[in-house]
């Protein structure tokens, strides 16, 4: 890990009408670091990621990548500089095959097939697609070989289905295709928005292994996740959000034990009487229960909430 963060977001704010979904959030990631963002439903996690990766435009704040200002940059430009993300509900191209989905991830790295010559670029790109000079064919072959390799990292899950349209795949397999597509971009930063949402225990464990493998490769990863066990095991650092603000940040166990975080998950003292009826907050109260559960290394997943927004 170097001293200079690779990605820095400062004072990010996004308002929808009267609601401030993301309020003055600061965030930074170092090269090779694994940062997780947790928080209850509606905390603003996905909105924050949308702002960082260019899907949405922020009302205030700045984002820099390697010192370069990328605030409110268009999503396709973000991809060009190496920001790749997956979507919370999985957005594969249904009528495209698994292979084609992953090849779309290679798009930004296609140098021979595309053209950047001003004015005539469109004509050149069409002509090259029609004539297919050797360089274009070689590039396409190289991309296909690499795509096959990436797909193979998911074991026998995707390889046998490589030429099937993704609408015919199971939900979990579509999420895998999404991650394969993101890896094909060779991202500087990989943003994963609830990669295990809707998966069962064994699928989750398998996905966690794959993500652990990505971390071991030294990738820089930003993760939104509700399954706390996974967050605790994978993260170098954890940030907790609630009501659009960062309420806690630090080592995984610090954040987990932060009373503010526990309160955010289990009820607000200010809204609707989140406090349980019993008098003592530590004995038999919801907060107490939560703490015990968080500490206990239960075999299964402790899911605080499933899918936000």
């Amino acid at each position: 890990m170097s001293d200079q963060p690779i990605l820095t977001a400062t004072g990010i704010t996004r308002r929808f009408g009267g609601i401030t979904a993301v309020d003055q959030v600061n965030l930074h990631v170092h090269e090779g670091e694994f940062l997780s963002v947790i928080g209850p439903n509606g905390a603003g996690k996905t909105t924050l990621f949308n702002l960082i990766s260019g899907q949405d435009r922020m009302n205030g704040g700045t984002v820099t990548l390697d010192g370069r200002d990328i605030t409110n940059m268009r999503p396709h430009k973000m991809a060009e500089i190496g920001v790749a993300r997956t979507f919370q509900h999985g957005r594969v191209f249904g009528n495209l095959t698994v292979m084609d989905n992953v090849l779309v991830g290679c798009h930004t790295r296609m140098k021979a097939a595309r053209s950047s010559v001003p004015v005539v670029a469109p004509v050149l790109e069409i002509l090259k697609a029609l004539i297919r000079p050797a360089s274009v064919r070689a590039e396409e072959e190289a991309m296909r070989a690499e795509a096959r390799e990436i797909i193979a990292t998911f074991g026998e899950r995707l390889t046998p289905r490589i030429d099937n349209p993704t609408y015919s795949l199971s939900y979990a397999n579509r999420r895998r295709v999404e991650i394969a597509r993101a890896l094909a971009l060779h991202p500087r930063i990989l943003i994963l928005d609830e990669p295990t949402a809707g998966m069962n225990e064994s699928e989750t464990a398998e996905m966690q292994e794959i993500i652990a493998g990505l971390k071991a490769e030294g990738r820089t990863i930003l993760l939104i996740e509700h399954k706390l066990n996974m967050v605790m095991q994978l993260s170098d650092r954890v940030m907790a959000m609630d009501n659009g603000r960062v309420i806690s940040e630090g080592k995984p166990y610090e954040v987990r034990n932060d009373p503010k975080v526990i309160e955010a998950y289990l009820g607000h003292s200010t809204i609707g009487g989140g406090r349980p009826a019993s008098g003592d907050p530590d004995e038999g109260s919801a907060v107490g229960v939560a703490r015990t559960r968080c500490d206990a290394p239960v075999a299964g997943q402790f899911t605080l909430a499933g899918g936000s927004q």
Binding site: F93, N95, V104, H107
Partner: protein, 613 residues
């Protein structure tokens, strides 16, 4: 200078009154469209035909049966109300929301059928409509108001009032409002969605029919060809008002009426329709949520995402394709010049369909203005060759011109989605036709271009029946080959990715505008050449040679074959363009056939004969 003096001397009050009167008729049209858009999330393209049906029921009551005006209005409302409800029952409900663009296309089919029926029953020529309304006029400032103005205004206000009472004072009205807000939630609360939809289509039909009668009264004549223009006026009004916003639709109608009225005063009547389209485009580009939308409000984008049904295209064996090509090549040997000509014509349609299936099927921009690309190519080649350019170069010039100008014109529509693309391209198509009509020094205006040199390629004449057959077949095969090659390259998957999920495609580095532009450029080139060849074959073209009906026809071919499917486009063109010719009896009722084909296709085989590519 003339403009300035017009501006000063214009009788503003007179123009304001006529603007408001016409505007209130537009508002009646728009209310129906807005109600339907609210509950069914659909732009009803048959609404214009319902308007025409209304004007003919009105003619039957007033002129043929000599009924009093009041009774006639009620009968018109009843008649077109039933027509509206039937449209919902027969053409919309069976679709069961299978894909989001399907009901829109289905209503286009209904519109074609209704128009053709009116043509068959009442003849395609306009008729006079008078209602024995007294002839006095009241002086107001420097303008006058007559009883017909008052009748129209009163009828419009009364209709809007009744609608308000229905929506806000009855249980069914509440159900309509609930469905408009959230149909799933309404369904869960026990609202009978089908009944709500049928009611809304019925009310919209009644209002549209009344508008038809009133327009007839205002101009003293009714025209069986007015459907499309009126439908458009209503659509522009709801775009101004904010789609499903009923009070907005009324405001939009009045605003449009005023803009048109002032515009005619300043520029002349031949520009009447241009204002509507210009307003439409400006609104789509700058205020797609309408004038009355609150700022910063986030609207759900209608009709995003996939509309191409999830299916695998039918793979045709190479041998079969080869065999068919050989048969096609040998066809002129049969010595049946009539059949050869029909097939030449079908191949030209095929070339146009090939271009449309690329932009609408592969990239997902459903275009109802495709004819404009052919018109651009046809005019470019026709004008250049009549001034001395060799025909061979003229064809290429036509293709390039259509490719470049078509893409530049369509570029603003690239940021639109779903139904808005359909509206935007439709407006573009009409604007191209209107510019051709009004830019007389260059295009020869309404007279059209005549004495266009016949087909020849660098000295080799191609105007014999067989030669032109082989030439057009050759063009079609070459362009099929090119398009298949493009679809198999990285461009194919990139275009399909944009169609499937534009947001995800952008996230993976695909600049959707750029690649939509590439597709439009190539399709424009293909369509431009098709248009140019057509021009040289006909030797005469005018602004109406490539009209909306032409666009709808090509779209039907593409749907029939399967969106994005290359061989499907050719098959669709042959079936639609050639089949009616072989059955003479059907040829008379061509539009009936097309309309029925469209509706049946969307209902029973939405992926087309050969599946979506």
């Amino acid at each position: 200078m003339e403009f300035i003096s017009n501006l000063v001397s214009m009788p503003w009050l007179d123009y304001s009154i006529s603007g408001l009167v016409i505007g209130s008729i537009y508002a009646l049209m728009a209310i129906g469209l807005a109600l339907i858009f609210g509950v069914a999330n659909l732009i009803n393209f048959a609404h214009g035909a319902v308007f025409t049906v209304g004007s003919y029921i009105g003619w039957t009551c007033l002129v043929a049966l000599h009924l009093p005006l009041g009774v006639s209005i009620v009968l018109v409302a009843l008649g077109t109300g039933i027509v509206g409800a039937l449209i919902e029952w027969l053409a919309i409900r069976p679709l069961n929301r299978q894909s989001r663009i399907a009901p829109l296309l289905s209503t286009i089919g209904v519109g074609l059928i209704l128009d053709q029926v009116i043509h068959i029953v009442f003849s395609p020529t306009p008729r006079a409509l008078s209602a024995n309304i007294p002839n006095w006029r009241i002086q107001v400032g420097n303008g006058t108001i007559g009883p017909i103005d008052i009748t129209i205004a009163l009828t419009a206000i009364l209709s809007a009032g009744l609608l308000y009472l229905f929506l806000y004072k009855t249980k069914l009205g509440m159900a309509v409002r609930a469905t408009a807000q959230d149909d799933d939630a309404a369904k869960q609360m026990g609202v009978n969605i089908n009944r709500v939809n049928m009611t809304v289509f019925g009310i919209a039909g009644a209002l549209g029919g009344i508008a038809g009668l009133l327009v007839g009264l205002y101009f003293n004549s009714i025209d069986p060809n007015a459907s499309f223009q009126m439908m458009l006026k209503g659509m522009v009004a709801i775009v101004i008002g904010g789609m499903a916003n009923v009070p907005g639709a009324i405001g939009g109608g009045l605003i449009l009426g005023l803009i048109e009225s002032y515009g005619i005063g300043l520029f002349g009547a031949s520009y009447r329709n241009l204002f509507a389209f210009a307003v439409l485009l400006i609104m789509l580009l700058f205020r797609p949520n309408g004038l009355f939308a609150r700022k910063g409000e986030r609207h759900a984008e209608p009709m995003t995402g996939t509309f191409v049904s999830q299916s695998k295209p039918v793979r045709i064996p190479k041998q079969l394709i080869l065999a068919l090509v050989v048969v096609a090549l040998l066809l002129p040997m049969a010595n049946q010049p009539y059949i050869t000509q029909i097939m030449t014509n079908a191949y030209l349609y095929g070339l146009a369909a090939l271009a449309l299936t690329l932009v609408s099927g592969t990239v997902g921009l459903v275009s109802i203005g495709h004819a404009a690309l052919l018109a651009l190519g046809a005019y470019a080649s026709a004008l250049a060759t009549t001034k001395g350019l060799p025909v061979g170069l003229g064809l290429i010039f036509g293709g390039l011109f259509a490719g470049i100008v078509g893409t530049v014109l369509a570029y603003p529509a690239f940021r639109l989605r779903g139904h808005y693309v359909a509206i935007g391209t439709l407006a573009l198509g009409e604007i191209v036709a209107l510019v051709i009509l009004n830019w007389t020094p260059v295009t020869n205006g309404a007279l059209g271009v005549f004495a266009i040199p016949p087909l020849e390629l660098f000295g080799v004449p191609l105007y014999g029946t067989n030669q032109s057959y082989w030439f057009v077949l050759g063009l079609l095969l070459v362009f099929c080959g090119l398009q298949v090659r493009l679809l198999n390259s990285h461009l194919g998957r990139t275009w399909r990715a944009i169609r499937e999920d534009t947001v995800a495609a952008e996230t993976y580095g695909i600049s959707s505008n750029y690649y939509k532009g590439l597709a439009f450029g190539f399709a424009g080139f293909t369509a431009g050449i098709a248009g140019a060849v057509t021009a040289h074959q006909w030797s005469f073209i005018n602004y109406d040679s490539f009209n909306l009906q032409f666009s709808v026809l090509i779209l039907t071919m593409v749907l029939l074959g399967g969106m994005g499917n290359v061989s499907g486009a050719v098959l669709g063109a042959i079936v639609i363009a050639a089949l009616p010719e072989f059955f003479r009896a059907v040829a008379e009722y061509r539009m009936l056939f097309y309309g029925a084909a469209l509706i049946i296709l969307i209902r029973f085989r939405p992926q087309g004969l050969l599946g979506s590519g």
